[in-house]
């Protein structure tokens, strides 16, 4: 890689650019910087404010840089006020269980729907398809009533079960992916005397790995950021998730933006770290999820 760059560099330097190329080049970087700036501005202003002391926040303009970049007192007090340690733990549990369960039941259902012909196969597919058309917010009008009857409100397990139940995208993904796994693999395993469970567990599930990664990314993002149902069903303080823990700041603390910004930053910090570590996987997950989902 390095070698080619070295050998080609002098050639490139001599290359003359036509006016259109110059304009295009300028436009290209100008647009990138402009929209990059717009994308960053709200977040950067948040970071600046989070490091300001109360006095500084009240006396300086919002875009003035803080005097002390090591002033973490807002972060500490936001973390304790919103009980974010507990909230982080709750979010982690919800995410791990929901992802685990939906991968298992989603892949099992996809396996059955894709590999067996049985009465009701088409019906189940259609039921799932139609369910995907119903907007979640509208459904909560009556799901709320059912959750109440089941005694699921204000319990983490109730919320988790509900989140597992409203999963359509990963089932589509798995079915789509399974269509490309040759049936001859199953058949030869059957010849060797394997049971269907063995086929699912030892052959299909390992081969589904790329689809599982994609579905975990898509589902993970939506579970981590889900706040509407979390707010509806997890009201008491000790079952709040990371997203809804921020609701503490609504009301009397509503104008202490230095504190709020710190809370907001803590809430997206885990996502930022995961994003930086797994950029490539996340991009490809989003892209394939949209095409194949």
């Amino acid at each position: 890689m390095d070698k080619t760059v070295k050998t080609y560099k002098p050639v490139k330097a001599k290359k003359t650019y036509t006016p259109t190329q110059c304009v295009w080049g300028f436009l290209k970087y100008f647009s990138l910087c402009f929209f990059g700036f717009i994308a960053l501005l709200p977040i950067v202003s948040c970071v600046i404010t989070a490091f300001k002391s109360d006095k500084e926040y009240q006396s300086t303009s919002v875009m003035t840089l803080p005097k002390n970049w090591l002033n973490f007192s807002n972060f500490v007090s936001a973390f304790t006020k919103a009980n974010m340690g507990r909230a982080f733990f709750n979010s982690l549990i919800v995410m791990v269980v929901v992802l685990g369960v939906s991968v298992i039941i989603g892949s099992q259902l996809a396996f059955v729907l894709n590999r067996f012909k049985f009465p009701g196969n088409k019906l189940i597919r259609n039921l799932f398809f139609f369910a995907s058309l119903l907007p979640a917010v509208a459904m909560q009008v009556s799901v709320y009533n059912i959750m109440g009857k089941l005694g699921f409100i204000n319990h983490l397990y109730g919320y988790i079960i509900m989140m597992c139940g409203t999963d359509v995208i990963s089932i589509y993904l798995f079915i789509q992916f399974m269509e490309n796994i040759p049936v001859s693999l199953d058949e030869s395993a059957i010849m060797d005397g394997a049971s269907y469970w063995t086929i699912y567990w030892k052959i299909i599930l390992p081969l589904l790995k790329p689809a599982i990664v994609t579905s975990c990314i898509l589902k993970g993002v939506s579970v981590y950021n889900e706040y509407y149902c979390a707010n509806l069903y997890l009201q008491s303080p000790d079952v709040r998730t990371l997203a809804t823990s921020l609701y503490v700041f609504v009301g009397p603390m509503g104008s202490k933006y230095n504190l709020i910004c710190a809370g907001v930053i803590i809430s997206f910090l885990p996502a930022l770290i995961v994003f930086i570590l797994f950029q490539k996987q996340i991009y490809s997950g989003i892209a394939t999820g949209a095409v194949k989902g």
Partner: protein, 334 residues
């Protein structure tokens, strides 16, 4: 002994195993689907004919016939709220064009491309509530946006109150929605553009095609389907616009979209019957839109196929089209 043996033989026979595995594997997901989608759906239809609260015991619910449905159309705040969807539709189109433009830039070699891509995508990973706080702060009088505009030479006295002034507040909310999702759309388009065979670009530039021509004749045909699909999805998406007003203004000052109003009627004023009727009216509209979109794909798109479409583009398109249908289904879930 022989009874146990034949039972074992029966249980391990292929036919029985198939039945067991089919039932075993589909029981839980289908049960969950019933409990959290179809039973509530049935209840919702039933509720829409009653005047009731969540806490009203069954025998005290008052049957009102179609009055809830009539109220949906009669009340000023209900059906009228749907016109706010137009703002979100415009926003969705702007978002699409922007995402397509930036995706085209970033699909070719660009210095710092990865950085820009990351910066523009990251807002998608922030939760709705956090976004609510960030933008309440952003739009507050004299705060972030006003300060930046003052740098650009605007006078603070001339600037509107971004979230209160009814002339601009819906656009402010649409802006946050675009801010949040354009990066995700862009990544999606980059994925689609990257899936085009890179030899096509090389061949095109050897033939002297400029960037504009490459975009027009190579990129656009191969991502036509996904773009059209996104345009159509944005219609249903705008009808059910909910998040920006819910987290930022809570529907105050004329920013309440249909779902925000519905949510308030259901959970604050506890008029469950009316809220159910609202939900069902919108579901019907969305359902009709989905059918129209299916028909659109079936007829309009097939006729639009041009003869000179290259083999590769055609193959890619067919693949994308097939996938897009599935995506239409999954996308509706959002």
């Amino acid at each position: 002994m022989s009874g146990a043996g034949s039972f074992k033989k029966w249980i391990t026979s292929r036919k029985v195993q198939q039945v067991l595995i089919v039932i075993g594997f589909s029981l839980i997901p289908v049960a969950l689907l019933m409990i959290f989608t179809y039973i509530p759906f049935g209840e919702m239809v039933k509720f829409s004919f009653y005047k009731m609260k969540y806490t009203t015991p069954v025998q005290n619910r008052q049957y009102v016939g179609l009055r809830n449905y009539m109220d949906v159309f009669r009340r000023k705040d209900c059906f009228g709220a749907l016109k706010l969807s137009l703002f979100y539709m415009v926003g969705a189109l702007v978002q699409l064009v922007l995402a397509l433009y930036l995706a085209t830039i970033l699909s070719f070699k660009v210095k710092g491309g990865n950085f820009f891509k990351g910066v523009m995508f990251f807002p998608y990973l922030i939760s709705g509530i956090a976004i609510g706080f960030i933008f309440k702060f952003f739009f507050t009088r004299g705060f972030v946006l006003d300060t930046v505009l003052q740098w650009c030479g605007f006078n603070l006295a001339d600037l509107p109150y971004w979230l209160k002034d009814q002339r601009v507040n819906n656009w402010s909310l649409v802006f946050t929605s675009v801010w949040r999702y354009f990066g995700q759309n862009m990544v999606l388009f980059i994925g689609a553009i990257m899936s085009v065979d890179s030899e096509l670009y090389e061949a095109a530039s050897l033939d002297g095609a400029n960037k504009m021509q490459q975009f027009r004749y190579i990129i656009l045909p191969s991502i036509k389907t996904i773009v059209t699909l996104n345009i159509i999805l944005s219609i249903t998406g705008s009808l059910s616009a909910f998040e920006p007003p819910y987290v930022i203004t809570d529907g105050a000052n004329g920013t309440g979209t249909y779902f925000v109003i519905m949510n308030r009627i259901a959970h604050t004023s506890q008029k469950v019957g009316l809220a159910s009727a609202m939900a069902i009216v919108l579901l019907l509209i969305i359902f009709i839109c989905t059918i129209l979109q299916k028909l659109f794909f079936k007829y309009v798109f097939r006729d639009a196929d041009s003869e000179d479409e290259s083999y590769k583009a055609k193959k890619a398109r067919l693949k994308a089209e097939k996938a897009a249908k599935k995506a239409a289904a999954a996308g509706g879930a959002k």
